[in-house]
Symmetry: C2
Subunit: 412 residues, 2 copies
């Protein structure tokens, strides 16, 4: 069952908005056994929209459309759908009841602009959008399914989950598609490729291996498509074989994230973590606290951007700060040790570095970072040299710091 996603909106083509909807839909559809074959993004232009829909109709069985359903004049998806289906807009009592219910709940009246949301193509079946004012629309024409949804991610996701996927599963029998992903940090793509070359060469035709590099990490994704084998076991065996070759670098699987994995380990051990962040400016704390339930093991953090904060809040020795500089082994070790004491935690991570773009010297160029971990009975500190881009340096530092904690947690 081939799916094509068509995303509509000038903002996507001029890069004002990143199309995160397609990735979410691709992931969700894939897990349900539907294969997305193409994603096409076009502008708010009738000709372009209709052309994209025509091509999608040739290639796919299911065409999922997002965007261009707002109450404002730049949104022309509904009009374009009417032309494409050779129909016209009609006032839908059902859609109007949903829109007015939405406003009643919020204690306000339906404005004239929002009344227009109830004008829909005559051939559509209305899908209830519980969290927004633009209804979803379901079309079944010439044996093809078309679904039009708002571009607001929150609204699209609820419509997909509550309305679209259950209907699609009812209609189509889906083949078995399975993914297994191994998450690594601290090893390069080509080094992995050499270590597992023989395993890769011996893969059966229905299993594919992909390397997905990101900042400071590489993910290895195995995809199997087959109804005739014991796919799950076969993939699990492959995961074990690959992992045996690169064991020290593997921190998780599938949708794991390093902050979630670290959090799980801390929870199991009933231990706590605190932070003293300088160059990462709160990003490590943000990664940790993005995980639901993180208050069980994350107690708090001092973000010490200014010298005086390092002195006052973390009691870093003034003379060491002046002679060695804030970006030094001595200072980062003091930061970690003090944070652990002040917050009374089992572990404390500290980072100090030069994120850039300014502040580098010949001895300590932009991208120089010291990371320290304090634990019961000791500390460890390491120096790293990342790149020149501020936000990449912040991200690489944060993930490397969390990986240092991960290595300690699995070692003890």
């Amino acid at each position: 069952m081939n799916v094509e996603i068509v995303t509509i909106g000038d903002e996507l083509l001029i890069g004002q908005v990143v199309d995160t909807n397609s990735a979410w839909m691709g992931d969700t559809l894939n897990k349900a056994g539907f294969a997305v074959k193409q994603i096409t993004s076009v502008s708010d232009n009738e000709g372009r929209i209709i052309e994209a829909l025509e091509k999608a109709k040739q290639n796919a069985d299911i065409i999922l459309i997002t965007g261009g359903l707002g109450p404002t004049k730049d949104d022309i998806t509904k009009v374009s759908l009417c032309k494409f289906f050779n129909t016209h807009l009609v006032f839908s009592d059902e859609a109007y009841a949903q829109v007015s219910h939405f406003f009643t709940l919020r204690g306000s009246d339906v404005s004239d602009v929002n009344k227009l949301q109830a004008m829909l193509p005559a051939n559509c079946h209305v899908l209830h959008n519980k969290v927004g004012t633009a209804p979803g629309m379901w079309f079944n024409t010439d044996g093809k399914i078309f679904v039009s949804m708002p571009g607001v991610p929150y609204e699209m996701k609820l419509l997909m989950t509550d309305e679209v996927l259950p209907r699609l599963k009812n209609i189509f029998a889906t083949p078995a598609i399975l993914h297994k992903t191994i998450l690594t940090q601290g090893i390069g793509e080509s080094v992995i490729a050499e270590k597992i070359a023989d395993i890769e060469d011996a893969l059966p035709p229905y299993i594919k291996l992909a390397y997905l590099p990101a900042v400071a990490s590489v993910r290895l994704r195995l995809t199997g498509i087959s109804n005739n084998t014991d796919l799950e076991n076969e993939l699990n065996t492959l995961v074990a074989d690959i992992e045996a070759r690169i064991k020290p670098y593997v921190y998780g699987y599938d949708n794991d994230t390093l902050p979630a994995v670290v959090g799980r380990l801390l929870k199991q051990k009933q231990q706590t973590i605190t932070l003293a962040e300088s160059c990462t400016g709160g990003y490590i704390a943000h990664l940790l606290t993005s995980v639901p339930g993180s208050s069980a093991y994350f107690k708090g953090s001092v973000i010490a951007y200014a010298y005086e904060v390092k002195e006052d809040m973390l009691e870093v020795d003034k003379q060491v700060l002046q002679t060695k500089g804030a970006v030094s082994e001595e200072v980062v070790v003091q930061m970690a040790t003090q944070a652990r004491q002040v917050f009374k935690s089992d572990y404390a991570l500290a980072v100090s570095g030069i994120a850039g773009p300014d502040g580098g010297t010949a001895e300590k160029p932009v991208g120089t970072v010291w990371i320290s971990l304090a634990y019961e009975g000791g500390t460890v500190a390491k120096r790293f040299k990342f790149g020149t881009d501020r936000n990449r340096n912040i991200e690489a530092t944060a993930l490397t710091a969390l990986h240092l904690l991960f290595s300690k947690l699995i070692a003890v």
Copy 2:
């Protein structure tokens, strides 16, 4: 001059990677006067790749391709390009020299896998990738330009900036495309639409207005395409007219961000900000410190996740914490006041709330947040009720807190 972007990679279609490359390319091309008409994402499949290239060739003058150039077996873009151009791979001495230089700089040898990076389609012109091992490729065929680049964002961006854009500008004369964007917070899309309906109705055909809603904010983007009018002045007048209707909600223009705008104001006034974050867990600090040069006005922060941290580091009254709860006006005001004193800053923002998914009560459901700002001579505190999604609540809280600071900075 029409551009199509073709992004290649299974990871895009199964949603394991969000396609941020296209947005960056769209933005960069647009500013250079090139209009992106379509973005197509296809899997690592020879047939799909060739079909996408053929369709792009029909519709566009310039086809920019990313992805599928890694050294590993799942990357088949080069082989597909050979089929598409009816040519074959040859060993490029030029590309090999670049790849070996890359490894020499890093003190290692070229592995066998990486030697394959120098095998390129016979008809391509090599573009030097200074930060990676996969060269860019430039093709000029039947009056159409094709460029193939790696999918790693960092490598693609440098190739675009250093190689591709200068060449495109040399070849094509570009029309005038101008964008002006007004950034608002605290007002809804449809309220804005009603307030400026007459301005929108009177827009000339060569100027379009788009509403771009995001978490806690709406951006209004005016796009003008014309070589015959004084477009810049005309757009500036429209911006002023629109802004006059919604003045209190406008915090910036174009590529401004709220953290950058707030930072600029603090720098101008030579004032400083510190934070006491609870439910946002470091995200406000992260937003502020993502801005280069933020150390001039951001001194530090205490992330007080645990009750005891609120007591110990911020000296929040234990009894108030127990009787009123951490999510209360009294506590958040004490957090802001204490942070301002401890860090010796001009302003301090404090937030305390229930991000979710757990921890809500009937009286204080998930999404309940108190925000306080302490300044010389006083404090202000406000209660908000956001939604049920943890990460949306964190983002909305952070932006709302920064907007509170913004309002104070422009009022004094």
